[in-house]
């Protein structure tokens, strides 16, 4: 069974009628608008990725000294234990 409708048209579309729908200027406007939106989205994504990178870098730098100091603290503690 078909899941479509078949219609029979008495009149066919004339070139003149179709011509009325042509609007290249409008097409270009739409294109430039979508391009601008695309560029803004791309820029926002780039900023987000950059900020995320900074955030990761910042936390990795903050954590590093903490871990080294704890190791250092732990080492000094063991040293003290051995001397006593």
């Amino acid at each position: 069974m078909g899941k479509h409708e078949i219609k029979l048209r008495r009149k066919s579309m004339t070139s003149r009628k179709i011509e009325r729908h042509k609007n290249y200027a409008q097409l270009m406007n739409k294109h430039h608008k979508t391009q601008r939106t695309k560029r803004i989205i791309q820029w926002l994504i780039l900023v987000f990725v950059f900020l995320l990178g900074l955030f990761v870098l910042y936390y990795s730098l903050i954590r590093k000294p903490k871990t080294t100091s704890t190791i250092h603290h732990h080492q000094t503690e063991t040293n003290v234990n051995t001397t006593t």
Binding site: H4, E5, R9, H21, Q26, H31
Partner: protein, 210 residues
Amino acid sequence: MTNVEQLTYMLETILLKPLKSDSHMSEGAIVAEQELVLNAQRDEQAFAMLYDRYFEGIFGFVYRRTDDEALTSDLVSQVFLKALQNIKKYEYRGLPFSAWLYRIASNEINRYFRKHNKVKVFSLEEGRVAELIDEADENNEEKIALLMTCLKELSTSVMEVLELRFFEEKSFKEIAFILEITESGAKMRTYRALEKLKDQFDIKIADSNG
């Protein structure tokens, strides 16, 4: 006249003939057209040439599949916008540029009907249908009506192929590209549809190209 009598009558009289048109592009013309496409890829202002060349064809195709002038205008605008946005991704595959536009148009039409959950439409021009029928006689309208009933019984995917083949006069290679199926698949769908129609009509098709 009963339906059976009608069918017997049709069996003797309906003949499909090729359309008198020179819409098929020669290889030389396809290669020459690529120059225009390359220009459009370099400079989007050059896209205007392609827009002018194919607007009418794409409009006719979309209109046949929607039967709504305003909707067709919107969809065609969307088709050319997508083409313009993706022109740099276009790759030459030995087919006319129009095949790529028809593919975008076909996808846009399908997306519209899927989104709005509507029944697909094939709005065929009576003149074109009559052109397909060999002999013009007083029973032409009856024949056309019966042919319409038969076409309604076919599956939508088959109708898509038939429409591209007999109304848009595309080669099987182009149909395969437009509908994203294999060439043999397109041929198979056509021949199956014709076999079904042959049960009710005496069909003769000069199917030389493509």
